[in-house]
């Protein structure tokens, strides 16, 4: 994903998702990105480029070799949630350290939503993928798997997406949020979606 594609995806997917945490606020809540849209976009792109360079170097991938769509989505995720200078969102515009976890959850959820949007775009426009599956993704997007819990006390308290986000937040706290592991999660989500597509197709 070069700068031009990144900017297009930012406009079509990220801008909308970044506004969502602002919509969930109640009258007194103030949730806002720490930077203006333009500089936020530049910051995330520059982190994305650095992550991509580091990833390519690590795996000895040539500059002109294209990266797998799950890796692209994961590189974006890791670039977006980078907390070198604190998380991307301010809750109440506060620098209160205690609010760091609230800021982390909003930052990770937004990153996840945008990364799913990127993955969906890459599937929908990939002519090598079966056309009816692309249409399914275009209509339904990446489908969230049902969280099956055999513990009676845990049922309905959480969701699949929520558990992924919690684990990613933990991994970041450990300073071990890995592009490969985030990519693997996106691979599983796409695989689950294709399974749901096959089931839907078989039933109709």
């Amino acid at each position: 994903m070069d700068r031009e594609v990144f900017y297009k995806l930012w406009e079509s997917t990220a801008e909308k998702e970044i506004k969502k945490p602002l919509d969930i606020r109640h009258s007194w809540h103030r949730v806002e990105p720490k930077e203006s849209n333009r500089s936020f976009k530049e910051t995330v792109y520059s982190r994305y480029e650095n992550e991509r360079k580091r990833y390519r170097k690590c795996l000895d991938i040539k500059e002109d070799d294209r990266l797998d769509r799950h890796i692209v989505a994961a590189l974006f995720y890791v670039a977006f949630v980078d907390n070198t200078d604190g998380h991307s969102f301010n809750v109440f515009g506060s620098f209160n350290k205690k609010l760091g976890d609230a800021e982390a959850s909003i930052t990770h959820e937004t990153a996840f939503n945008i990364a799913c949007g990127i993955l969906e775009t890459f599937i929908v426009y990939d002519s090598k993928i079966d056309e009816s599956f692309r249409k399914f993704i275009d209509e339904k997007g990446i489908v969230e798997p049902e969280l099956i819990s055999f513990d009676k006390n845990n049922r309905n308290k959480t969701s699949y997406k929520e558990e992924i986000l919690k684990q990613f937040i933990c991994a970041q706290k450990e300073s071990r949020l890995s592009v490969s592991q985030v990519a693997l999660t996106f691979f599983f989500l796409e695989n689950n979606t294709s399974l749901r597509y096959k089931i839907t197709k078989a039933l109709t």
Partner: protein, 54 residues
């Protein structure tokens, strides 16, 4: 599936006034962000042959 997003759950705990965000609320947020693991009683575990083929 949980209807509320993780962000919304956190924002609800944070509350309306940042000055009221005390240690009790902070630990509530920390608790919410803990992954939900289904705990297994280790004493009950016995070695068994693996059944799956991969």
């Amino acid at each position: 599936m949980s209807a509320k997003t993780l962000s919304l759950k956190v924002i609800e705990i944070v509350g309306d006034n940042p000055d009221n965000f005390d240690e009790a609320k902070e630990s509530q947020v920390k608790e919410l962000l803990k992954p939900t693991n289904e705990e297994t009683d280790v004493k009950e575990i016995k070695w068994r042959e693996r059944k799956s083929s991969w």
